[in-house]
């Protein structure tokens, strides 16, 4: 190995030390010269005289607990009907970086502590200021379970949902960055996000916007901000997507609450959602920025099923002697009226998730936290080393790296904390039959006594030719008209293979009302190569989004739809038909020829040929030409005479 190879390594080490100094000296933030001194001192390696050096060594020596910008939190919320919502929340922040765009070397000085290394370059390469990614599958039963966690802002529609705010000089540049971003994310998250192209991308105008008070930093004043969004509704969500989520965490699933994350348990659920939000936060005075990332992994498991799965991996019916029969009714070896599920529940999360929590993350300023949200008659305990502890607020800090387990017990699992009612119920369905046209019907129901103001966002693929003229409202209340409900509409019509239909409607749903809005559409024919291999399965239509503005901020999504288009028969019957037609054609053709054609002798044929054959024809043509030429000559002579 050459000596030169070591220089960058050493250099980097020196620089890292230098950068660390910057951070641990928040007191000296007014002078840059002081910081410069620190650098000089640190790489001249003359410790002793400066107190700052000792301060900086705090980071490197690990004498004191590490305090990075990392926070993790586990919320366990029992839901009605023996369901349990587990919400793993991770918050992390990158080290500050300069925003000098021209000198890319500046990025060399940045180093990574808890912020995942692959995310930063993707963000800066594509000039992305905000990134939101959702992987969601399953059914959230809002009738029973109430509002989605975090007001629905952390979960997407079925499949993969991506939206981002990109800084770019023009729309075309923004689209280019967007495509690059989608491709990079596809590599990072093991999903087909690279299928996002212009035909799936919309530019939302009134939904998906950041909060009013949240201004997005612009690094170049002449640029604009573009918000783009796309969804892949047929994308599966599986272990290969969870793996990168875990690998992005500084704990990598080895310690802290992330040690519970196991694909087998997360995906053996009724509903699960993985989300990532990255924001760029800049300080205008120092021109320094940092990334803030929130990573949420949420799952709703059916507790009795999950516990049974631990004992019996194959969900078979219980053997007769284990059945709980209603003793007030006739019961014997052959008949049994089963009792409803027992209200008495006691379980530990190690049984639900298959393992214990491997202590706290021991990385952040705040220790890892577990909170269980239950009414008072539930008993919640944390188990460390065979001893159980309980707290008043049912929240536990994990301060060491011993295995932890949380135990939940109750005599009445039916009563859980009252869930917050959703302000609006929206559902959507396809109507009509046949393969050339159909309809789309969205039902809005506001059960509350307050009017609900919302933006209803729909993005439909180009192969649905929407007729907005057929927009109609159905309601029991004859007074309810489209105009009284839809305040304004943003409509960007689809262009074949280029962009989707994009509809955004600002609506007001009156209190205690239910109505449906419907419109008709045509189904287009695709080109042969555009059909997916399982075209007969149908085409997934992404969920519509209802973003409630008043009375509270809430986002609800409809389920995705399965649209069946007319598909050519790619397979066997098609080949069979072609083959049969060929055979039939051959047989029929021969027979037809035999019947319709005359049979004659050779002499006759010769005779006919002599008069009608090509030679005879040629002679006749020759005679005609000769005649014509002679005739022309005569004409010319004639005309000359007249003159």
């Amino acid at each position: 190995m050459r000596l030169q190879n070591w220089i960058p390594v050493l250099l980097l080490a020196a620089i890292v030390t230098a950068e660390v100094d910057f951070e641990v000296n928040p007191v000296d933030n007014e002078t840059e010269s002081v910081q410069q001194d620190v650098i000089d001192e640190s790489w001249n390696a003359e410790p002793g005289e400066s107190s700052r050096i000792t301060q900086s060594s705090k980071f490197l020596s690990l004498e004191h607990p590490i305090e990075y910008n990392f926070r993790e939190h586990l919320d366990l919320t029992p839901l009605p009907n023996n369901f349990l919502l587990a919400s793993f929340q991770f918050y992390m922040q990158s080290e500050p970086f300069g925003i000098d765009r021209d000198q890319h070397e500046s990025s060399e000085y940045s180093h990574h502590t808890v912020f995942p290394k692959p995310v930063g370059p993707i963000m800066s390469q594509t000039n992305t200021r905000q990134l939101h990614l959702r992987f969601t599958h399953g059914l959230w039963d809002s009738q029973e379970w109430g509002q989605l966690p975090h007001n629905g802002l952390k979960s997407g529609g079925t499949g993969v949902e991506l939206w981002a705010i990109v800084e770019a000089p023009s729309k075309e540049e923004a689209l280019k960055s967007w495509i690059t971003l989608a491709n990079s994310l596809s590599g990072l998250f093991c999903a087909s996000i690279n299928f996002i192209d212009t035909s799936k991308t919309t530019f939302p105008v009134s939904s998906f916007l950041p909060k009013e008070d949240e201004a997005i930093p612009l690094l170049n004043q002449s640029n604009h901000l573009y918000l783009m969004r796309a969804t892949l509704a047929n994308e599966p969500v599986c272990t290969e997507n969870l793996t990168p989520f875990v690998k992005l965490l500084p704990t990598r699933g080895k310690s802290g609450i992330s040690s519970l994350l196991d694909g087998h348990k997360i995906f053996d659920s009724n509903w699960h959602s993985l989300s990532i939000d990255v924001n760029t936060v800049c300080d205008e005075s120092t021109a320094n920025c940092h990334f803030v990332m929130e990573e949420f992994i949420e799952t709703v498991v059916n507790v009795p099923n999950a516990l049974a799965r631990a004992d019996r991996p194959i969900p078979k019916p219980l053997p007769g002697d284990e059945l709980r029969c209603d003793t007030n009714r006739p019961h014997d070896a052959f008949q049994c009226f089963p009792l409803p599920q027992s209200k008495e529940v006691s379980f530990s999360i190690s049984k639900l998730f298959g393992k214990k929590i491997r202590g706290g993350s021991l990385l952040g300023e705040q220790s890892s936290k577990i909170c269980v949200h239950v009414p008072s008659h539930w008993d919640v305990m944390i188990q460390v080393d065979e001893s159980y502890f309980a707290t008043d607020d049912n929240c536990f800090d994990l301060n060491n790296n011993k295995p932890h387990d949380v135990r939940l017990e109750t005599t009445d699992s039916k009563s859980v904390l009252p869930s917050k009612k959703t302000p609006i119920y929206v559902s959507r369905a396809l109507t009509g039959y046949g393969q050339d046209r159909g309809g789309l019907r969205s039902v809005f129901r506001n059960p509350s006594n307050e009017a609900v103001e919302l933006v209803y966002f729909e993005s439909l693929p180009w192969f649905m030719g929407v007729y907005l003229s057929s927009l109609a409202i159905e309601s029991d209340d004859p007074e309810l008209t489209l105009d009284s409900v839809v305040k304004s509409t943003f409509y960007s019509p689809a262009r074949d293979r280029e962009r989707p239909t994009h509809l955004e409607r600002a609506m007001i749903i009156p209190p205690n009302t239910a109505f449906a809005i419907s419109f008709q559409f045509d189904k287009s024919l695709l080109k042969y190569a555009e059909y997916p291999p399982d075209a007969n399965h149908g085409f997934e239509i992404e969920a519509a989004v209802a973003a409630v503005l008043t009375p509270e901020r809430y986002e609800a999504r409809t389920s995705s739809l399965l649209l069946s288009l007319s598909t050519p028969d790619f397979s066997m019957p098609y080949n069979v038909i072609i083959l049969t037609s060929t055979v039939m054609g051959l047989a029929f053709g021969t027979l037809f020829n035999l019947i319709s054609k005359q049979l004659i002798t050779l002499e006759e044929a010769d005779k006919i040929l002599a008069s009608t054959g090509p030679r005879a024809k040629l002679l006749r043509v020759k005679a005609k030409i000769v005649n014509m030429l002679q005739g022309n000559k005569n004409k010319i002579i004639k005309s000359a005479k007249y003159e």
């Binding site: 491709n183 969500v237 272990t239």
Partner: protein
């Protein structure tokens, strides 16, 4: 400085390993890559996914990192609603080993597994946005293992039940790989019906190929899992894995041993091996040459001696300081730069004219209806007017024509 001592030691180690390597005459490859492809879609082809995941597990166990494995999974069986065991894929009815495990990185999945993508992957012809993790970034020192499984026939292999790759396509792709110096040695394994026809067209050097069945012969699945309701593994792959399970990173078993382990009684078809393109004797080729990850360190420049380094040490020390100083100056310059780039903040998102082009801000149906009725009312009167004008005109022209005619 202590570091220099370490460095010298490291250098010597490198030199030693190189010398030893040359003396033993081991393979010249420095890195290992694996391309594992399952080509069939749909739940009933579970066994093809299981085949490929078993291979994935094997190469990963033997040391090829995830970043050097390109896994193409044509369908999602692990989280398929029909899967009794969500998040798990098994290759045996005893379900002792979950192939999906806790961490798996699928590079191409679902609709991405196409003939085009497979050939692009081998020849590395992508557009600029293609992420690195989905590329086969091999060089002339790479040993590449390619494993394909699916449904096939004579000289073709079906992808996704929708398209086919021909044996000529793969042969040409390998030729291009060779021309581009994208492999040192290549091991091609295929488990499909009439598999041996798939490598019959190969013509690039240093390629060794093995297939599960000869022309006009089917490959069979090994056994089914009653609870899952599908066959879980193919015979050829099953016995390959059985052999591989006994291998660890230091194994001295060779490809000859592997090929000898296949018998008709086990596989129920005639396993074919193609070696005419391969210069080395099979009994000299370690299995770990393709399945493991050998980290042979080759010094950057073997002419540089330890003495030269020592001589340069003082200079380098200075150079290092100089470089560091330069870097530092640059940094401070940046910091002191009076023209600090300005960060502004904006709330204006999607304010571009282009986005609003062609959009209707308030779509007034009433207005459209009124305009429509007006238009409808206008049409008859307009038609009347035009038809009247037309008759007049025709009369007029007829008249003039008549005039002209009479004038003549």
């Amino acid at each position: 400085m202590k570091l220099w001592g370490y460095q010298a030691l490291f250098f010597l180690l490198c030199l030693a390993s190189n010398v030893i390597g040359e003396a033993i005459g081991t393979a010249t490859h420095t890195n290992n890559w694996a391309v594992l492809v399952s080509t069939s879609r749909f739940w009933f082809n579970y066994r093809h996914m299981a085949n490929v995941l078993s291979m994935y597990r094997t190469v990963k166990r033997l040391g090829i990192p995830d970043s050097q494995i390109i896994l193409m999974l044509s369908d999602d069986v692990a989280c398929n609603p029909r899967n009794l065991f969500p998040g798990s894929v098994f290759n045996n009815a005893d379900r002792a080993l979950d192939l999906y495990g806790e961490s798996v990185e699928v590079d191409y999945r679902g609709y991405e597994v196409t003939v085009e993508n497979f050939i692009r992957l081998l020849t590395d012809r992508w557009d600029e946005d293609h992420p690195k993790s989905k590329r086969l970034m091999t060089d002339e020192n790479s040993n590449v293992f390619i494993y394909l499984t699916g449904h096939g026939g004579e000289d073709f292999l079906k992808f996704q039940d929708a398209e086919e790759i021909a044996s000529h396509d793969i042969a040409d792709a390998l030729a291009q790989m060779h021309a581009k110096k994208r492999y040192n040695e290549l091991f091609f394994m295929i488990d499909t019906c009439q598999a041996n026809t798939m490598f019959s067209k190969f013509y690039s050097p240093n390629v060794i190929a093995v297939g599960s069945s000869e022309l006009d012969e089917s490959s069979y699945s090994h056994h089914s899992d009653v609870e899952l309701g599908v066959a879980v593994v193919d015979r050829f792959t099953y016995y390959t894995l059985g052999f591989m399970e006994e291998i660890d990173k230091n194994s001295t078993l060779t490809l000859r041993d592997l090929f000898d382990s296949y018998t008709f009684e086990k596989v129920h078809s005639h396993v074919g091996v193609r070696t005419d393109l391969y210069p080395r004797n099979l009994s000299d080729v370690l299995i770990t040459d393709f399945f493991g990850n050998v980290q042979n360190l080759v010094p950057d420049d073997d002419r540089v001696t330890a003495g030269a380094i020592k001589k340069n040490e003082q200079d380098s020390d200075n150079t290092l300081l100089k470089l560091a100083k330069a870097k530092h100056d640059e940094l401070t310059k940046q910091k002191n730069d009076t023209t600090i780039p300005q960060v502004t903040k904006s709330n204006l998102i999607n304010n571009d004219e282009a986005i609003h082009q062609g959009s209707v801000e308030t779509y007034n149906i009433k207005l459209v209806k009124v305009l429509g009725t007006l238009l409808l009312l206008l049409i008859p009167s307009l038609l009347k007017y035009f038809s009247y004008a037309k008759t007049n005109n025709s009369k007029l022209t007829n008249f003039s024509l008549y005039n002209e005619h009479t004038a003549l």
